[in-house]
C-alpha cells in the first residue's frame, strides 16, 4: 500500500519533472553570468581555473557559508555523539598487506592532498577536494591500525586557525578594499603558482580546515565503537 502510493506520487512528480527537462536542449550554449566569468576571470581575479575563481572570488561568500556548514557538521556531530556508550571493537589490526600499503601510501596521499589544494587556482581541484583526499589518507590509517589515534586538540586548533584565517582575509578586504573578501594582493602572472591574489591563501586555509574537519567527523563516528 505504502509502496503503491509512493510509486504513484513519484510517477506523477517524475513525469512532470522529466517533461520540463526533456524540452531543454542538451549541450547548448546559454547566455548568462557564466559567460562573463569565462571572459573576465584572468583579468579580474588572476586565476586561470574559472571554477576556482567563482568559488573563491566571485561567490566567495558561498564558500564561507560552505566552510561554516562543514564546521557545523563536525561541531554538531560532536554534540550529538558526546556521551554515546562506547562499544568494544575488534582489537585486531588489518592484514599485513593492508598495513604495509597504508603506511607507504599515507604520506603520499597527504602530499597529493596538499598539492591539490595548493594548485587550486591552476588545475582542477582546490581546498575541498584536497581536504577530502587528506581525510581519505587518515581513513586508510584508521582501517589499517585499530589503535591509530587522531589528536583531537591539534585538529580543533587547526580547524579554528584555518577558519579564522578565512574570515580575517575577508575582514582585511573589508578594511583595505572596501568590501568583504575583496582581493587586496597583486594578481601576479596567470598560470604562476604564486598568483591570483588571495585565492591561494583562502584555498590553503580551506584545505587545512576540511582535512581537519573530516578527520574529526570520522574519528567521532569511530569512537562510538572503541
Amino acid at each position: 500500500m505504502r509502496k503503491a502510493v509512493a510509486i504513484l506520487l513519484l510517477g506523477i512528480f517524475g513525469y512532470y519533472f522529466a517533461s520540463i527537462f526533456l524540452s531543454l536542449p542538451f549541450g547548448e550554449k546559454r547566455e548568462g553570468v557564466g559567460k562573463h566569468y569565462l571572459e573576465n576571470t584572468i583579468s579580474e581575479t588572476g586565476s586561470v581555473n574559472t571554477v576556482t575563481s567563482i568559488v573563491v572570488s566571485y561567490r566567495g561568500f558561498d564558500t564561507l557559508g560552505e566552510v561554516t556548514v562543514l564546521f557545523l557538521a563536525s561541531t554538531g556531530l560532536g554534540a550529538i555523539l558526546f556521551d554515546v556508550r562506547r562499544k568494544k571493537r575488534n582489537e585486531q589490526n588489518a592484514s599485513p598487506i593492508v598495513r604495509t600499503t597504508s603506511t607507504v601510501f599515507y604520506p603520499m596521499i597527504i602530499l597529493l592532498g596538499a598539492y591539490v589544494f595548493v594548485h587550486g587556482h591552476l588545475t582542477p581541484g582546490g581546498g575541498f577536494q584536497g581536504g577530502a583526499i587528506i581525510a581519505t589518507g587518515v581513513l586508510l590509517m584508521f582501517m589499517a591500525y585499530r589503535k591509530f589515534e587522531a589528536n583531537h586538540t591539534l585538529l580543533s586548533v587547526i580547524e579554528s586557525l584555518a577558519g579564522l584565517t578565512f574570515v580575517t582575509v575577508g575582514l582585511t578586504g573589508l578594511i583595505y578594499g572596501g568590501s568583504f573578501l575583496v582581493n587586496f594582493l597583486p594578481l601576479g602572472t596567470p598560470n604562476d603558482l604564486v598568483s591570483a591574489g588571495v585565492i591561494p591563501i583562502i584555498y590553503i586555509a580551506v584545505g587545512f580546515k576540511v582535512g581537519a574537519e573530516l578527520t574529526v567527523v570520522l574519528d567521532d563516528m569511530l569512537k562510538t565503537i572503541r
Binding site: 505504502r2 509502496k3 509512493a6 510509486i7 506520487l9 513519484l10 512528480f13 517524475g14 519533472f17 522529466a18 527537462f21 526533456l22 531543454l24 542538451f26 549541450g27 547548448e28 550554449k29 546559454r30 548568462g32 553570468v33 557564466g34 559567460k35 566569468y37 569565462l38 571572459e39 576571470t41 584572468i42 586561470v48 581555473n49 574559472t50 571554477v51 567563482i54 568559488v55 561567490r59 558561498d62 564558500t63 557559508g65 560552505e66 556548514v69 562543514l70 557545523l72 557538521a73 563536525s74 554538531g76 556531530l77 550529538i80 555523539l81 554515546v84 556508550r85 591552476l122 588545475t123 582542477p124 582546490g126 575541498f128 596567470p190 598560470n191 567527523v217 567521532d220 563516528m221 562510538t224
Partner: protein, 113 residues
Amino acid sequence: MLYYIGAISLILIGLYAVLVKKNLLKIVIGLAIVDSGLNLLFIAIGYVKNATAPIFSSESLTADKMVDPVPQSLVLTAIVIGLAVTAVALGLVIRLYDHHKTLDINKIRQLKW
C-alpha cells in the same frame, strides 16, 4: 538527453528509498542518492557540446569553447552541504540505535507524527 534521464531517475530512486524503506541506514543512503542525482543534473545542464573544462591552462584555449563554470562551482558547494547533512544524519542514526537497539523505523516511532 540521456544524461537528464539518468540524473532524474537517480533522484526518483533516492526519493523512493526515503519514502518506502524502513531501515534508517537505507533512508540515509536514499538521501545521498537524491543529492548525487541533483548534482549530476546540474552538471548536465552546464554542459556544452565539444567544449572543455573551464581552465585556461594553455594559450590555445578560448572562452567560447568551454562549458558553463557556474553549475560546477555551485555543485561543489552542494556536495559539501550534502556531505554535512549525511554526517549529521549518521550521527543521529548511531544515537537512535544506541537508544532502541534497532534500525527499524516502525519500532522507533514514539513521538506522534
